[in-house]
């Protein structure tokens, strides 16, 4: 079972991101469960959403305590919430930022986890360009597809089109595609480094 935990703030589409991820996984024939951490619904408050993906029925309903994947939609949370809590040693980390892990003050994290699975992507900037609003969720899912290969970009596009109306969907699909390409380039550079 693949367990994904998404951290962000109220208003950034954190819950929608987990839901879209589950739709993408379902589109690929897998079982998926997405649910939010049900805090008070306030813009700007820390929000967590979860997604589980498996090849059989998912019965477990506890919050994800030991994620295989962490997606951080808002880097200002990094030093406020222990987002890395329980992260699997082989886990993936995707952070919405133009800065590197080192520049984000995460040098310690870099040492503890596999460096080729730790990436940052300027998802808010990409979203601003394509969607006109700094809502990074779709771009981050595109980036996650490129980082892990665990879901396809086509499935992500399908999920975006399921959740959003036509025009907004296409703008988000474009954001996901750019983030996907960005991570592909990053990973290529890493492999040559």
């Amino acid at each position: 079972m693949l367990q994904i935990r998404i951290h962000g703030r109220g208003g950034q589409g954190v819950v929608t991101a987990a839901e879209m991820l589950s739709i993408a996984a379902f589109e690929q024939g897998r079982h998926a469960q997405a649910f939010p951490s049900f805090g008070s619904e306030r813009t700007g408050a820390p929000v967590i959403a979860y997604c589980r993906i498996d090849d059989k029925e998912i019965r477990l309903r506890e919050p994800i305590l030991a994620p295989d994947v962490l997606i951080v939609q808002d880097p200002t949370l990094l030093h406020q919430v222990d987002v890395f809590q329980g992260l699997h040693p082989d886990g993936y980390v995707l952070i919405n930022s133009r800065r590197s892990f080192h520049d984000l003050g995460l040098a310690e994290i870099e040492k503890r986890y596999r460096h080729e699975r730790l990436v940052t992507v300027p998802a808010s900037e990409i979203a601003l360009k394509h969607v006109g609003r700094p809502l990074p969720n779709a771009a981050l899912l595109g980036a996650f597809a490129a980082l892990s290969g665990l879901i396809s970009l086509t499935a992500v596009d399908h999920a975006i089109r399921t959740k959003f109306s036509a025009k907004i969907a296409e703008n988000n699909v474009a954001a996901a595609a750019e983030a996907y390409a960005y991570i592909q380039r990053e990973l290529e550079e890493l492999s040559h480094a």
Binding site: P36, F38, L65, D82, G86
Partner: protein
Amino acid sequence: MLEQMEGSRAVARAVALCRPEVICAYPISPQTHIVEGLGEMVRRGDLVDCEFINVESEFAAMSVAIGASATGARTYTATASQGLLFMAEAVYNASGLGLPIVMTIANRAIGAPINIWNDHSDSMSQRDCGWIQLFAESNQEAADLHIQAFKLAEELSMPVMVCMDGFILTHAYERVDIPAQAEVDAFLPPYEPRQVLDPAEPVSIGAMVGPEAFMEVRYLAHAKQLTALDVIPRISEEFAERFGRASGGLVRGYLTADAETIVVALGSVIGTLKDTIDDLRAEGIRIGVLGIQSFRPFPLAAVRRALQDATNVVVLEKSFSVGLGGVVSNDVRLALSGVQLHGYTVIAGLGGRAITKASLQRTLREAIAGTLQPLTFMDLDWRIVNRQLAREAQMRRSGPIAESLLRDVGPIAAKVI
């Protein structure tokens, strides 16, 4: 067709397939998405011959439901928590009048302190109101139970609550198989009421009944609920034949046949329990879980049959009777009258406290070892409990409890769970 969707959406779709004629509701978390979805379907014309009535309160919602149902309309509403308490008087009237209303309860705690999260306190507060109460384990079962509920309610002329865990189910996306309209039509015949308010043939409904016949009316309601003990499994079997999956029924065991220890539970926690039990089984521990799908009527005989050969019975419940202990466990104990076994009540998940596999494993191991307290509050934070007790012992004006405890807990935003 199999689709990935939110639990609330699945329930809205299932209810729409039942062709309700009147839907009235007042928004309250975590039920809101269900009636929002239905409202949208009515507005768009996807749900025809249905009137969606916005009301000013939950009390009005149930009152309108009573009026609509009495005119012979298939009627649906949904609520949770304080909303259910606010409509309580009308809830009793609906069952007392024998009106087959179907209502979703998106289970949520009751204040004070105010809390929007899941537990079963709301449904349990109405367990004696004369409604049938069914509990869903998953979103698939929640959707299926609504289709069964209309059939059950109308056959018996008795209202049915379908209880599903707020947020944990209502806000969870998972795959749900939504049947085709023709399949539901074949399963659920048009509503043929026993009593109708009709200007052409005037009758009165709701007479005052004095000591001469009140007990008899009550007894008839009880006798009818007891017949539901036969009707519920029959409808569940017919559903399984038509739709190809088991949903509903009275109780459902998982690995209980040879189990020395059986956990009894209601609702979505059964899923987490099944995973926990698989892990314990892998160590050779003979343990299973008994899910209760029908809490009212309470299936005394089925529960007794399932539990009587066990050595340990652990009732894990998201409800709590202050001054006594368990609510569900009280009924389970009645089912086990005269049976010698070790019984435990575990109160868990109140107000949305996460129920984790790790905590369940630890608790169940203690039950097997015989070291578990007869009444246990799983994952209770004794540190803050004891601090408050000390505060109250030290000074008279110790202040409001909830506020003091929040100060002791500290900022919660920094914690992952």
